[in-house]
């Protein structure tokens, strides 16, 4: 029997987008000089006390609503006790027995991220809980005479720890979930999603088993800060566990780190001590009460969620499921699309989708840019699409205008069309004169056409378009040519 089932659960720490820390008035801005954003509470001076940041709770409520979870009317902050130099109090304030968010889940699509023709599988990943807690500081191991430096700027940064059930069965599913979650937390505006800066960090609990058997012993891969590393780390870990078991060695529960240089996972030495966190309710913090009115207020301020928007794009604008899922993959993409449709008119919704997913996406990809950094704004793109729709320009000219907009040659499609004289020639008299000229100058083609050579007709259309630098309305040119040639 060679088949193995992989079982993965993820724990994600999302840094919440507040101005100040979860229990103090220090800034959480990234990149400050060491310890200048570590105030008396953050460095745990004797006698200081925590006071909860309201906005951190709002973020938790938003998340709970977005994943269809239960928001606890009363949740409790607890102390998780352990000694570590970047943990100034000797305990982390977290939630243990009663978290602020319980249950809920996330629908993910696996296997069709970049291919409209592939069949994606839908899957629902259940969440166990999400709770509020404070981040620790940072230990800097570069050489200070063989010592470690401690920077507590990050200590006290608000985190939402989001824990899934062991629902995922492959690294691809884990990554799909992580991507969906990453998109959602940014969508609802609670986390900036910056993985390089550590705003969104995942730990993966991985085990393997023969199908139908009870869960195997899991090992936890800590601090995965990119989707690529997540995939590599899980794949390596799975293979490692299978090899161990196959060779008769039992898996022991452990915390491991992924080394991107070697592509391997290894046990953390510092975590070898047996832990006993001695959780107990923090006597400095009272129960957190969240009344239904508060939840309703937060709900009213919540943006339309990706799943609802996806469905609406399909029903309202007639987009395909694939198109709708691409356009709702990130909040920035959806915002761009919605703004462009609003400016171009709902009747152009499909054209807008095609342009965003075609020309614009290709350009952004090529330049490694995100849609919110696009040099062409949604309004500019909409202006361009409107000129196609009203026959001011042809599709081909539109590409030229797009190019010019990208390069900043004008502030709107209209300005570029005007300035560069790209307006389509639709005056029948002018086109008739043009067609006469073309017929007179290309007798050879005319004869070939009359002799039954269909291609010669296309050459005549081409000549007419060339003479007007593509500005003549191709349909009118075709119609007039046919009339003159008596077809």
């Amino acid at each position: 029997m060679s088949r193995w089932e992989v079982v993965i659960g993820l724990e994600t720490h999302a840094q919440l987008q507040t101005k100040s820390k979860i229990f103090s008035g220090s800034s959480i801005a990234f990149g400050a000089e060491p310890n200048v954003q570590a105030n008396a509470v953050d460095i745990a001076l004797p006698g200081v006390l925590p006071v909860l940041n309201r906005e951190a709770v709002v973020c938790a409520i938003k998340f709970g609503l977005a994943v269809g979870a239960t928001i606890a009317p009363r949740s409790i902050f607890a102390r998780k006790n352990y000694f570590y130099p970047d943990l100034p109090k000797g305990y982390q304030i977290s939630q243990f027995e009663i978290p602020v968010v319980a249950g809920g889940g996330l629908a993910i699509r696996v296997g069709a991220a970049n291919d409209p023709n592939a069949t994606a599988t839908e899957k629902f990943v259940h969440l166990t809980r999400a709770h509020l807690e404070e981040d620790a500081g940072k230990s800097l191991h570069e050489d200070f005479h063989g010592r470690t430096g401690i920077d507590l700027n990050r200590a006290g940064t608000p985190l939402l720890e989001i824990v899934t059930e062991p629902d995922m069965r492959s690294s691809a599913e884990a990554v799909a979930y992580a991507r969906a979650l990453h998109s959602l937390v940014q969508w609802i505006g609670i986390c900036d999603g910056n993985m390089q800066e550590g705003s969104f960090r995942c730990d993966a609990n991985v085990s393997v088993r023969r199908p139908g058997e009870p869960l195997g012993t899991r090992r936890e891969i800590k601090n995965l800060n990119s989707f690529r590393f997540m995939q590599q780390a899980i794949d390596f870990e799975v293979q490692w566990q299978i090899n161990e078991i196959t060779e008769g060695r039992a898996i022991r529960q452990a915390t491991v780190l992924f080394d991107p240089d070697t592509g391997e996972t290894r046990s953390m030495r510092s975590k070898e001590d047996a832990h006993d966190y001695r959780y107990f309710p923090d006597p400095d913090l009272l129960p957190l009460e969240i009344r239904p009115e508060w939840i309703a207020e937060v709900k009213a301020g919540l943006p339309e969620l990706p799943q609802a928007m996806n469905a609406r794009f399909q029903s309202e604008y007639g987009l395909s499921a694939y198109d709708a899922s691409i356009l709702t993959a990130t909040r920035a993409m959806a915002d761009f699309y919605i703004a462009a449709v609003a400016a171009a008119g709902a009747g152009n919704a499909k054209t807008v989708a095609n342009w965003i997913m075609g020309e614009l996406a290709a350009r952004l990809n090529k330049n490694d840019m995100a849609v919110d950094a696009s040099p062409i704004s949604a309004t500019q793109l909409a202006g361009l699409i409107q000129r196609i729709a009203d026959n001011t320009i042809s599709n081909n000219i539109a590409k030229k205008v797009f190019e010019a907009l990208w390069n900043g040659e004008g502030s709107s499609a209209d300005e570029i069309i005007e300035k560069q004289g790209l307006k389509q020639i639709t005056d029948t008299g002018a086109i008739e004169a043009l067609v006469d000229e073309v017929l007179a100058a290309n007798q050879k083609s005319v004869e070939e056409f009359r002799a039954g050579k269909e291609k010669a007709f296309n050459a005549l259309v081409g000549q007419a378009m060339k003479a007007t630098k593509g500005k003549a309305n191709p349909q009118q040119v075709t119609d007039l040519l046919k009339k003159k040639l008596g077809v």
Partner: protein, 489 residues
């Protein structure tokens, strides 16, 4: 003028506002007494004449201007060394913080300074407030001014001894299980532990966060009322600080006591109390009956469990609260270690004294895996039973009375060998901390060896003004609170 050191706060305020004495002169008078008498008592562990006099000069400017002062402007006081005081060494009685100069002020320190009070210095205490005799201080024990072979009580023993010897007219204290009331009783003073949440804990070094509460210690109830007016009040930096309208704790001082219902818990009048203490307490109750009060028997059936429940809850919280003392950001770091683990365990082994380590270990154990439910959770449930007993009792009485401590001040070393014996000296005070209730102690006579005896008054939640009224009316007709040790005169 020479007996100003024995005056009430109102008398001092009147003398200061009349400009018969300056704040600088008054502070100097006390500083000189401290220089003379403190070496025999060890009550003060930090003094800084320049800082004190600078504060006094500022108070004088306000007083000279004739406005901008408060009822306390220019009056000196001293702080228990548990309160962070900016620019002052704040040690909490521990080697761990022997070199810790606080970069900030506790809320209480800020408020009293804001009221114009002048800081005389920092007062000795049991290490991290863990003790009932002041024998656990890293800086040596405080001696009881009534008999220097005896303990002053604890943990606010320095505060009590300083006032008893008239080295300060008033002091701050903290009370986690009796640490204001028991030393007040043992040194013949008046001390009040407010309702939990009435005074901000910000800047008060935590022992057991759900029990700790700061309060005033002084010679009389009236003085305590004036001090509490300045100390209490909402502080947004303490999540457990209660948002309530400002109240004048002195408002009811002069109300007559006719019809007052005094609850006497039969559990407080059993075998545990020494005969001399009982005699003094009984006499005080007679005095109250003369003032028109009636006494009713009440029951606190679970109060006997308060000491064991406390010695689960308080060490559990303390074990976590004291984890921040790790030698990384401030405080003591062991001189020799081979790695991080050793740096931690040696810094803490060397920086903490025996009683503190004992409580950290007990606290760690009762929270540890497999024991949490049996100890910590169990104790928390019993805590609720104890609080419920009081709720029941206050249905039939206005205040509860009994002894503060089962005995008068004991000799050094008498209880330090057996931790449990020491813990039992707080048997009458601990239950109010568990319930969050206010309590106070006032002098009610003398027992064996002419040592002071304290009468405890327990009030209902936010019953401070009532308690102070009850205490003040007694002090109007008695003079125990004006007595002072011979050697201090």
């Amino acid at each position: 003028m020479s007996d100003l050191f024995n005056s009430s706060l109102r008398q001092l305020a009147a003398t200061l506002t009349a400009r018969k004495i300056s704040a600088v002169e008054l502070a100097t008078l006390f500083l000189d007494r401290i220089d003379r008498l403190n070496p025999g008592l060890n009550a003060f562990i930090a003094l800084d004449r320049d800082k004190t006099l600078a504060q006094a000069r500022a108070a004088d400017e306000k007083l000279n201007a004739g406005a901008g002062g408060t009822a306390l402007t220019g009056i000196p006081l001293a702080h228990k060394d548990i309160f962070c005081t900016k620019g002052w060494r704040t040690s909490c009685g521990s080697k761990m913080l022997e070199n810790f100069v606080s970069p900030y002020d506790a809320h209480v320190v800020e408020k009293l300074a804001g009221a114009g009070m002048v800081t005389l210095g920092k007062l000795n205490m049991d290490e991290f407030a863990m003790g009932s005799s002041n024998e656990t201080s890293h800086f040596g024990p405080v001696k009881n001014p009534w008999d220097v072979s005896r303990v002053p009580g604890g943990s606010s023993g320095g505060s009590a001894a300083a006032i008893a010897a008239r080295l300060a007219p008033a002091a701050t204290g903290t009370d986690t299980g009796g640490s204001i009331r028991q030393p007040a009783a043992l040194c013949g003073l008046t001390g009040l532990k407010p309702t939990y949440g009435a005074v901000s804990r910000y800047g008060m070094i935590a022992f057991a966060s759900s029990l700790d509460q700061a309060g005033p210690m002084a010679k009389s109830a009236e003085d305590c009322a004036l001090l509490l007016n300045a100390m209490a009040g909402f502080d947004p930096r303490d999540s457990t600080s209660l948002e309530r309208p400002t109240e004048d704790y002195a408002r009811d001082l002069e109300k007559p006591l006719a019809g007052l219902r005094i609850g006497l818990p039969k559990e407080f009048f059993g075998d545990g109390m020494d005969a001399d203490v009982r005699a003094a307490v009984d006499a005080a109750l007679d005095e109250y009956r003369k003032l028109g009060a009636i006494t009713v028997e009440v029951q606190l059936p679970n109060s006997g469990l308060s000491v064991p429940a406390y010695y689960v809850i308080a060490p559990a919280e303390a074990s976590s609260n004291l984890s921040r003392f790790d030698g990384v950001r401030y405080g003591y770091r062991a001189p020799e270690y081979s790695d991080l683990a050793e740096m931690y365990s040696r810094s803490r082994a060397q920086g903490f004294g025996a009683e503190v380590k004992r409580r950290i270990l007990i606290g760690t154990y009762v929270l540890s895996h497999g024991y949490y439910d049996a100890y910590y959770l169990k104790a928390q449930k019993i805590r609720r039973l104890i609080a419920a007993d009081f709720q029941e009792a206050f249905k039939v009485c206005d205040v509860i009375m009994g002894p503060t401590s089962p005995s008068v001040a004991f000799a050094f070393g008498a209880k330090s060998a057996d931790p449990v014996q020491m813990y039992l000296s707080d048997i009458y005070t601990i239950s109010t901390n568990l319930a969050g209730l206010p309590g106070m102690s006032l002098p009610c006579g003398f027992g064996n060896n002419n040592m002071p005896v304290g009468l405890q008054i327990i009030g209902s939640w936010f019953g401070e003004a009532k308690m102070l009224n009850v205490a003040h009316q007694y002090q109007r007709v008695t003079d125990w609170h004006t007595r002072m040790p011979k050697e201090s005169k």
